[in-house]
């Protein structure tokens, strides 16, 4: 028996919904009779997109007047639940998505399942979670009355339009949220970015601790540029402050599934592997022949990144 209703948090981004939101809408419509999307801000204009990806209704929390979305959006969803809760609410793993999930969980007194990479209907909703670097998969379910809250990682499903009619847009205001909603955005800063986005790039070139020092990351950026790819990083060098968090690939960073992933000076901690092991091809360059990264690499070069990368840059330049 199919699930009756799934709600999906559809995050607005640059005139559409985020890719992960569209992935969740697509998967939700294969599981449930009715799919409902919830959005805010510019998302209220996107009834056609929500419908195209499978939502019958688009609830619009409206303009948040600069407030961080977590509190007002969770308050609006809680109010909607009072007139009929879904089987579950699917939320993208993102900065704001996690805020909404945490707030809603405490408001509804319902648990959250996070880091989900698969959802199926086995006489009830069953979630899949990779653990221990993806070597094991834990399957879990919600118990007790009330909706489940599921936070899903990017690229767990493929987004495909259904060609359906636009969704009906219905206003769903947050109501009074008191002191909890008093965190407001004063200014937004956009960091200059060249080349493709990390999550969407065909080629990802990542650097790790093996680079030795922050300045050596320039080689990663150069190889990425020459291959028209994006530059990524392991948690170790993000924590060390060499590159911004937005470059981080792994459990606590971004999930990437490029055509080819070049891991340079990355040993392959489980935390990193889970973010990139879905890549079509993996190339690893590392001094340590026993580094775990070689266990999943299609091509492994046991060597010093300070020798191999300059030679690779020269070879790629010679071709262009």
């Amino acid at each position: 028996m199919a699930l009756s209703t799934l709600w999906v948090l559809a995050e607005p981004s640059n005139g559409s919904f985020t890719t992960t939101s569209l992935e969740l809408l697509t998967h939700a419509r294969s599981l449930a009779t009715d799919v409902v999307a919830i959005t805010w801000g510019d998302g209220g204009q996107l009834g056609a997109v929500a419908g195209e990806y499978g939502a019958s209704t688009l609830y619009d929390v409206g303009d948040l007047a600069g407030a961080l979305p977590g509190v007002p959006v969770a308050a609006a969803i809680q109010a909607l639940c009072e007139s009929g809760a879904p089987d579950a609410l699917l939320i993208p793993t993102s900065y704001d998505g996690r805020d909404v999930a945490g707030r809603l969980s405490a408001r509804l007194d319902r648990p959250v399942l996070t880091n989900v990479t698969g959802i199926s209907d086995e006489g009830g909703l069953v979630t899949e979670h990779p653990v221990f670097g993806g070597s094991l998969t834990v399957k879990a379910k919600f118990t007790g009355p009330g909706p489940g809250i599921v936070v899903v990682r990017a690229k767990s499903f493929v987004a495909e339009p259904s060609g359906a009619w636009p969704a009906t847009v219905v206003a769903a205001p947050a109501g009074d949220t008191g002191a909890t909603a008093s965190a407001v955005i004063a200014t937004s800063h956009v960091e200059e970015r060249t080349g493709p986005k990390l999550e969407e790039a065909t080629v990802v070139v990542s650097g790790g601790r093996g680079l030795g020092e922050a300045g050596a990351y320039a080689m990663i950026e150069e190889v990425a540029k020459l291959l028209n790819g994006a530059a990524g990083a392991s948690r170790a060098i993000v924590d060390a402050g060499w590159v911004p968090y937005s470059h981080q690939v792994g459990q606590t960073g971004k999930t990437v599934k490029p055509l080819v992933y070049l891991a340079c000076g990355i040993s392959g901690a489980t935390q990193h592997m889970v973010g990139m092991k879905g890549s079509k091809n993996i190339v690893a360059i590392n001094k340590d022949a026993d580094a775990p990264i070689f266990q999943i690499a299609d091509l492994g070069i046991v060597g010093d990144v300070h020798k191999v990368l300059p030679a690779l840059i020269d070879a790629l330049k010679a071709r262009s």
Binding site: G102, S105, A106, F142, G300, A311
Partner: protein, 257 residues
């Protein structure tokens, strides 16, 4: 300025992880302070210092008797520590954890609660925001810089495109990313001083939360644990000056070049 820092004692992340018979993470070995929490402790110490005084209280929960991680935070300079330690907390989910921490934190006045964005063992990443909701506080997650001006909190919050400058009135809760500050190492003097600093151990009963938290309070269950599909290792070469050429040939073969 009184700041509460939520910390977690976890199994050494460098050691292999496993499940116990109840599919809980095996915590039988020695527990250490999660490195992700050292940033919050350092941030708290710096903010209290800038404010001209106050207390840094570390709070934690666990199912065992370990306190070495808390002593580590005290050695860094925290004023005191409180841990809710109770066998009945085994199997707690994130919401139960938040309920326990909220009950502890609400016992005394505070200006700010700090936590890591997520722990390095469970990676759930929802406990701090659940805690903020239970305490009725505004929250700012993914902080890469934190300052306080009067009673206003200013945070640079990581976003997909860059960062936002976000403000909130105190009291509030902030989760900090790794690298927000450089955590200090505990000095010998600090380690010695930590031995005599207050470390309070509470039970679930002390907080009046019997039957509401731990495995009893969790409304989720593990259906199965399965071995995931593994990738096969491909070809491995020792670089003899031809490593770059091997990479180029591979990229040609998959038509990236």
């Amino acid at each position: 300025m009184n700041i509460v820092v939520c910390v977690k004692q976890i199994p050494d992340p460098a050691a292999p992880q496993s499940f116990d018979a109840s599919n809980n993470l095996n915590r039988a070995g020695k527990l250490i302070l999660d490195e992700a929490d050292t940033y919050g402790v350092e941030m708290a110490l710096q903010l209290v210092d800038k404010a001209g005084g106050g207390e840094v209280t570390v709070v934690s929960m666990g199912s065992g008797a370990d306190v070495a991680g808390l002593r580590n935070a005290l050695a860094m300079g925290a004023t005191k520590a409180v841990i809710v330690s109770d066998e009945s907390l085994r199997g707690s989910d994130a919401l139960s954890t938040a309920k326990v921490l909220a009950a502890v934190i609400a016992r005394q006045p505070f200006d700010l609660v700090l936590a890591a964005t997520e722990s390095s063992d469970g990676y759930t990443g929802t406990t701090p925001v659940q805690l903020a909701e239970l305490l009725g506080l505004p929250s700012i997650t993914f902080a890469k810089a934190v300052s306080i001006e009067g009673t206003t909190l200013k945070v640079s919050r990581q976003t997909e495109a860059g960062y936002d400058e976000v403000t909130a009135p105190l009291p509030a809760l902030v989760t900090v990313t790794a690298g927000v500050v450089e955590p200090r190492y505990a000095s010998f003097k600090g380690i010695m001083a930590a031995k005599s600093k207050p470390l309070e151990v509470l039970s679930v009963s002390d907080l009046g939360l019997d039957g509401q938290v731990g495995a009893v309070g969790a409304r989720e269950a593990i259906v199965a644990v399965e071995t995931a599909e593994t990738r096969q290792a491909g070809e491995k070469y020792v670089d003899e000056g031809d490593g770059a050429q091997k990479v180029v040939a591979f990229l040609e073969a998959i038509k990236v070049l």
